[in-house]
Symmetry: C2
Subunit: 328 residues, 2 copies
């Protein structure tokens, strides 16, 4: 299933010749000089199993919202009727998004051009909903991996395992018109995304290839539940405590409440649609109140209160208790 293509050091003298997500352009093995091999250690330890939660109402609604958004863009001719390759981040929300594609019979069967593929992809390939999957990593449960091994003839020409320099290549992502779907920890009122550091300090995960995909995608989508910790944390905040993806790389934000389409919108309209379409109702008034504190300028912010929700959570354990008067 591997396709190993190694570009030269820059400047490259030629293009990376991938024109379809499933194109194979290299060797099915890594070429090494046998003189450099001093020994081989055989290992039969399985990968650590990936634990999946069952879909709940929140993740299911996020998935449906993404699928409906994509169908809308297909109907409006923004996405061709045959679809465009999908990149999907990992985790339960990402799985829910792909599940939603399965049940949406209006959605064309898709190619994936991704960094990591999870179990859902195996399901969708067996159902004929995913035609091919390009990736640099299969992050499968033991059961999922066994299904692939048991049916290698079926999966061999559908899965392409590439080096990350190719699976995440800006050139290929832009050429194929990839639709990037990644998960956010929090999103600020202007579309800036934190996808790695909880509260700006504690690393939840790296950003993987999401930087390459979000910047170079045809459409860049970020998804997250509107709240965490029983509503004590809002994912829509005045300012993110850590910025992984700037407003310039975020086009669509999706929570269980709906879709904020930020394309072509100025700062005020971005804030409005994020509050009305994506924020949890418990937080909408707080976010509107924050905007009233802002300077009248291109972007409305009040630097004294921009991180008030985060500070309140650290002090009192619940962002809903934020009192802006304590900050300004």
């Amino acid at each position: 299933m591997h396709d190993v293509y190694e570009p030269e050091n820059p400047p490259y003298r030629r293009e990376i010749p991938i024109y379809k997500a499933s194109d194979r352009i290299g060797k099915p093995y890594v070429q090494v000089d046998p003189k450099k091999v001093v020994g081989i250690v055989e290992v039969n330890l399985p990968n650590e199993p990936v634990i999946f939660k069952e879909l709940d109402d929140v993740t299911r609604r996020i998935g449906e919202n993404v699928a409906n958004f994509l169908l809308g863009d297909i109907k409006r001719g923004i996405i061709p009727a045959t679809g465009l390759p999908i990149q999907s981040g990992i985790g339960n929300v990402a799985n829910a998004v792909l599940k939603a594609l399965e049940t949406s019979t209006e959605m064309p069967a898709l190619d994936l051009y991704s960094e990591v593929l999870q179990d859902t992809v195996i399901d969708l390939m067996e159902l004929g909903r995913v035609k091919s999957g390009s990736t640099c990593s299969l992050s499968l449960s033991q059961e999922g991996l066994q299904r692939v091994y048991n049916n290698l003839d079926f999966f061999r020409d559908k899965l392409v395992l590439r080096p990350s320099e190719i699976s995440n290549s800006p050139e290929v992502i832009r050429r194929l018109g990839v639709i990037a779907i990644n998960t956010a920890i929090e999103v600020d009122l202007y579309g800036c995304v934190n996808s790695s550091h909880i509260g700006g300090t504690r690393l939840m995960n790296g950003i993987g290839g999401s930087g390459d995909f979000a910047r170079n995608a045809y459409i860049s989508i970020f998804t997250c539940p509107s709240t965490l910790k029983d509503g004590k944390i809002s994912a829509i905040v005045p300012m993110v405590a850590h910025a992984d993806h700037s407003e310039h790389d975020v086009r669509i934000v999706v929570t269980e409440y709906g879709v904020a389409d930020l394309r072509g919108k100025g700062p005020d309209d971005r804030a409005k649609t994020l509050i009305e379409n994506c924020a949890h109702p418990d937080y909408r008034n707080l976010l509107w109140d924050y905007l009233k504190l802002g300077k009248k300028a291109h972007i409305s912010h009040n630097v004294a209160a921009a991180l008030a929700l985060h500070t309140t959570f650290e002090r009192e354990g619940d962002m809903r208790l934020t009192d802006f008067n304590k900050f300004i």
Copy 2:
């Protein structure tokens, strides 16, 4: 001088066939259907003149620091001895950087693959220090423009004017191994850059193509003076008030005090090198003090005090007056 190449809508069926910064791949004119032309308005109004400040000590030192950094990477073999194409932002600092290349005789003559070219490029072409310049916009003074018009035979094969979709193409930027040099308003202790909104609210300029270049470049450099407004504003801050380029897209930061090479460094080391090599001495203790307030976590931040310098500047007109005790 124009080279107009229009890719299809994604998915593109072929590569953008640029393999050297100076390659011409399209037509020297824009093709339009004559039936759609209802009239032609001739205009002889000149462009608004571009005002240049003379180089001062600060901008000159920033330019020298960038040139020395690049020479160091050439000597270490990270950049090939023949150089790689340079993208340069606009403004006085960007001009100073290009001026420094002129005086550095060890630097190979370079190609530019940029979004905007300024007067300095005209000087450097006449001196033989710049071999070619690819751009989507010539932002020249009237005098600079006249020099091009007066010597068109010389400049015609050295300047290539492209559509922005090509001048800023992620595919071409990555393939050519472009070295991106852009200007920052402020940089935070972990390498996140604000290049558009002063104090997080007032728009100074758009980001232009810097997002495409910073993400996809071989090396991404940001430059700025260490202070503004007679030292009342530090360009190195605990957290930026607006994030245009995340830590993932910023490799090298340069001020008049030195170079912070963030490549391969974790958060603590990034903060240390930014304080010691780039911050103005008046601010170094304040920035060390901020770090002591941070949580022990992957990134050290204190959300209550992260924007204390900005808030103090708004309240008291000078970031040096920051008293963290008022915030935590």
